[in-house]
């Protein structure tokens, strides 16, 4: 998994590539919590366009990012979810909990 960060006005865009699983989710957790809790950015956009797979530890990480942003009244948006990632969130009954946009352009306009 690779993570890169772009800053755009009041938005931090976190681009993730690869699989989010037991091996890689701690790194993503660290990045998300740093942006939300320490930098207190008003909006975190997690671009998952290049993510092929998410397991339960990945779901827990996404949920933790969302909770951290809610605690600080900021926004946590995800975009570019493929069918497998969507299926995992459906199985977790969390699809409606997250703010999800089809792509980055839509997410930035929202």
């Amino acid at each position: 998994m690779q993570i890169s960060i772009r800053k755009l006005d009041q938005v931090t865009i976190v681009d993730v590539t690869g699989d989010i699983d037991l091996s890689t989710s701690p790194e993503l957790r660290k990045v998300l919590l740093h942006e939300c809790r320490e930098l207190k950015v008003p909006r975190v956009l997690l671009n998952l366009t290049s993510v092929r797979y998410v397991d339960s530890s990945g779901v827990a990480t996404l949920l933790e990012g969302l909770k951290a942003s809610r605690d600080l009244k900021s926004r946590f948006i995800m975009c570019g979810l493929n069918a497998k990632v969507t299926q995992v969130l459906q199985l977790s009954k969390l699809l409606n909990v997250f703010e999800i946009c089809e792509n980055e352009e839509q997410a930035l306009k929202s």
């Binding site: 699989d19 699983d21 037991l22 091996s23 797979y53 397991d55 339960s56 530890s57 779901v59 827990a60 949920l63 969302l66 909770k67 809610r70 069918a83 497998k84 299926q87 995992v88 199985l91 977790s92 009954k93 969390l94 409606n96 909990v97």
Partner: protein, 158 residues
């Protein structure tokens, strides 16, 4: 009784970094057996979560322990009808599993403050597979997962 048709055995270290290798191999196996992309993903997720549980709970995060995974084609009675199925058996020699932990926990749509991700992996295993059996055998944990094959699978079971 036949033990079914042996397809693949993997012996791996309990290092989370090898999980992606198992997923890749299983994706090709599921494709060979005619599973749809969606069903293939469900099986991969279940096996991945089972391995994750072994690493986290049976081996308590130790990375040099051994996990054995065997894939066979078998006949099972499913919904009172004999069916061809993929059997996946995972063996580890870690700490005995607390059977209370294996009880299913129904997921509900809750307010975000009340959401807890614990137990999700087990939920995926139970939800995604057609049969899930756990037992302790000869000092080892044995998890047997069954997924019934799609009706028109391209791989012929002899």
């Amino acid at each position: 009784m036949s033990r079914g048709k042996f397809m693949l055995r993997m012996e791996l270290r309990s290092n989370p970094e090898v999980l992606c290798v198992v997923r890749s191999a299983l994706a090709r196996l599921a494709e060979l057996l005619g599973f749809s992309d969606s069903d293939s993903h469900l099986v991969i997720l279940a096996v991945d979560e089972a391995l994750t549980n072994i690493i986290r709970h049976a081996y308590k995060g130790q990375r040099e322990r051994c996990i054995e995974v065997t894939f066979r084609l078998v006949q099972v009675a499913y919904k009172s009808v004999p069916q061809k199925a993929l059997e996946i058996v995972l063996l580890d020699d870690g700490a005995p599993v607390d059977l209370k932990r294996l009880r299913p926990r129904p997921l509900q749509e809750l307010p975000i403050e009340e959401l807890k991700p614990g137990g999700l992996g087990l939920h995926f295993i139970r939800k995604n597979m057609d049969k899930v059996e756990f037992r302790r055998r000869d000092g080892r944990n044995l998890l047997r997962l069954i997924k019934v094959l799609p009706l028109a699978e391209p791989y012929q079971v002899s």
